[in-house]
Amino acid sequence: MNGIPLTHILFVSTALFFIGMYGFFTRRNMITILMSVELILNSVNINFVAFNTYLYPQNLDGIFFTIFIVTIAASEAAVAIAIIINLYRSLHSVDVDETGELKF
């Protein structure tokens, strides 16, 4: 593990973050957007863990943050999917472009 510099791990997390970003920009289906968000959250998790292990091995804060983020991601996914299902019920669509009732 020591043979790999931190920046390489950060490369992975950054790339994953922007992949999620790309998905967020291009996808129209809300569920796939949610997936993109999960990717983004995971890239953040990788960052926390990597920083913790590489830079502050005596501490555990990064680990805690990771755990909390995972928890929050779980609850976020639950609420988001509840909203999506509700929206699907009323609009029969989960397309973000069709949910423009509140614009202007």
């Binding site: 970003m21 967020f24 920009f25 291009t26 973000v96 472009d97 423009g100 509140l102 614009k103 202007f104």
Partner: protein
């Protein structure tokens, strides 16, 4: 006696009445509002008579001069330590006399209107306006400073506007009200500029200080105002002439007289009050108030003289040809005010020289009585026959004896037949003119002959000539409340001339000995009698001699009938010249530049928002994109620029 309280009550009572009737009258006590207003004004009238009596006969004279008393005064607006606008009440011979005239005539009109306006839907409104007018007129004559006077002056204009336009269902009344307001307002602009010139140089607004400063050739203020000049005329003359224009507007002097005949659209008692006895003499009062300064400036005084004399003559000529009885009276008023004006113009200051001033005020005093009597009489006639035209009248002496007698007294008074009131005052005016200016004297002499002629033309046309067929049922001469003022005023028109006026009001305050010179009086009285005789010959019975005379005068008669086309000239100037050369370009500018500026800015805003509306797409991915680039830009900014 706390005189300042009593004297403040005089104008305050009508004000309170106005507020009371104006706010609640129509809704709660419409039918008794007239009684309320009459009683309140009656009280005010009693107060002013008693105060005037006390002032004239029981107050202290210093060297034979009645002292000016200022019982109430307080600072209203303090602009700078040296300049403030005060509110106050001044009591001097002039204002005491005006107080009595205004409250008394107003009271008579109030009583008369009880009968005349009976059954009007807006009875309370009418009395509210009358009270407002009385209040503002009283405030005008009791002003201690020129600015206070200006304010009340405008108030008087407004209440006159309201009363002329009282029958606002009639388009002609609305037009007349607007005309009166605009013409007098235009004149008031001159007044305002005059005030500004005078007070700028004198550095005060107070009458007393103003007069003291501007009549002392040594004072810095006097030097300042005479040093400045515009178009070769000194600033003093400019100021005075502009102030006089304001006065001429209110007093219907040529060429600003055009509103007065039209103002007859108002209820007739209103004409008696405003357009005969009180408001129209405001201009005379103004000149009299500033008379010590006018005397100092012969140019301004000359303007006053000739405008007055010309107006007197012109109005008398027009009055001879009009057929609407109220218009005849309106022109007659204008003519009589012209008398007052030129009497002031030919007057000097102090002693025998000041005869014209005293005569003018005397004429103002007597004229108020007989002219309001004439108007009220005309009102009674109109009330009976429901028409203003002479052709609808005739032989009314049998139907309305009291009106007939009092009207006759008033006609004799205005014609200057002894011993009626008008004789004395007119005599003194003519004497003053004779000593000062022969041209004016002959104009005046001729005009007084004309006056007698047109008054008796009116009298015979109403009460003699022919027989009018009144409609089946008519209400006779009118109620008691209409007869009483006629009788009171008739008596006063008979005896008002015997008031020792020269003892009370003179230019310098010192009593003046006057005597009636019988030999001198012969000519004017003879002129009047000739006028009356011609009128008898032409109008007493039904004949066509008058038509013959009219056709003999031909074009002149027609011009006079058309009021010498003054209205047409005004219309030409306003419609053809002002509208075309000023109004239209301004309208064009307004429409194409100002409006377009606004429209364009609105259009630009609309276009911009239409275009940026797309940014508010409601699409969450679009927002995320902005957010993303924003974050990117901000981080670049912070990392590379602010580091």
């Amino acid at each position: 006696m706390n005189s300042s309280l009593y004297i403040s009550l005089i104008p305050l009572l009508p004000l309170v009445t106005f507020v009371l009737l104006g706010l609640f009258g129509r809704k709660y006590f419409n039918s008794i509002s007239g009684i309320i207003a009459t009683f309140s004004l009656g009280f005010s009238c009693l107060l002013s008579i008693s105060i005037a009596y006390q002032y004239f006969f029981h107050s202290e004279r210093v060297n034979g001069v009645l002292q000016q008393i200022i019982p109430v005064k307080f600072t209203w607006l303090q602009f700078s330590p040296g300049l403030s606008i005060d509110m106050g009440i001044v009591l001097d011979p002039l204002s005491a006399m005006m107080l009595v005239v205004i409250t008394f005539i107003s009271l008579m009109v109030h009583i008369f209107s009880l009968g005349y306006m009976k059954g009007e839907a807006r009875f309370a409104t009418y009395y509210a306006f009358l009270s407002l007018f009385t209040f503002s007129m009283l405030g005008l004559v009791m002003s201690t400073n020129i600015f206070q006077m200006y304010m009340f002056w405008e108030l008087v204009g407004v209440s006159s506007f309201l009363l002329i336009g009282y029958y606002f269902e009639k388009p002609s009344a609305v037009a007349a009200a607007k005309k009166a307001f605009i013409v007098t307002r235009f004149a008031d602009l001159g007044f305002l500029i005059g005030i500004l010139i005078l007070s700028f140089h004198a550095q005060t607004l107070d009458f007393q200080t103003l007069i003291t400063r501007l009549t002392d050739p040594q004072s810095a203020q006097y030097l300042s105002i005479t040093a400045g000049s515009l178009l070769g005329v000194s600033m003093l003359t400019w100021g005075l002439v502009l102030v006089f224009i304001g006065g001429a507007g209110k007093s219907a002097m040529f060429p600003l007289h055009i509103w007065l005949p039209d103002a007859m659209e108002g209820p007739t008692p209103v004409s008696a009050l405003i357009h005969a006895a009180t408001m129209v003499v405001a201009g005379v009062y103004l000149v009299a108030r500033l008379f010590p300064i006018f005397v100092f400036d012969s140019a301004a005084l000359t303007v006053v003289t000739y405008v007055g004399a010309f107006s007197a003559l012109l109005a008398a000529i027009i009055a001879c040809t009009q057929t609407d009885i109220k218009r005849v009276l309106a022109y007659s008023t204008m003519s009589q005010i012209g008398f007052m004006m030129f009497a002031l113009g030919v007057s000097g200051h102090g002693g025998e020289e000041g005869l014209g001033y005293m005569a003018s005020m005397f004429h103002l005093f007597t004229h108020a009585f007989f002219k309001s009597l004439l108007f009220l009489g005309a009102g009674a006639v109109i009330h009976l026959v429901h028409s203003n035209e002479m052709i609808d009248m005739g032989g009314l002496r049998k139907h309305m004896p009291i009106t007939h007698i009092t009207f006759l007294i008033a006609c004799l008074a205005i014609s200057g037949i002894p011993p009626f009131a008008g004789f004395f005052s007119k005599e003194e005016i003519l004497t003053a003119a004779f000593h000062a200016n022969k041209v004016v004297f002959f104009i005046a002499l001729f005009t007084s002959g004309l006056t007698a002629f047109y008054m008796f033309r009116l009298y015979f046309s109403i009460f003699w000539r022919g027989e009018v067929h009144l409609h089946g049922e008519h209400h006779g001469e009118g109620t008691l409340s209409m007869k009483i003022p006629l009788i009171i005023l008739g008596v006063l028109a008979l005896i008002a001339g015997f008031v020792p006026f020269s003892q009370l009001i003179t230019s310098d305050g010192i009593a003046l000995e006057t005597h009636v010179d019988l030999l001198f009086s012969l000519t004017p009285v003879a002129m009047a009698v000739i006028g009356i005789l011609i009128a008898i010959r032409l109008y007493k019975t039904e004949n066509n001699r008058s038509d013959g005379v009219a056709s003999a005068f031909g074009g002149f008669y027609h011009a006079s009938y058309k009021k010498f086309y003054v209205d047409e000239v005004y219309l030409f100037i306003t419609k053809k010249i002002i509208f075309n050369f000023i109004g239209r370009p301004v309208a064009w500018f307004d429409k194409n530049i100002i409006d377009e500026l606004m429209n364009q800015s609105a259009a630009i805003t609309a276009a911009v928002s239409e275009n940026i509306k797309g940014l508010q797409s409601g699409k969450v991915q679009g927002y995320a994109m902005y957010f993303f680039w924003g974050i990117l830009g901000l981080s670049a900014l912070f990392i590379y620029l602010f580091n």
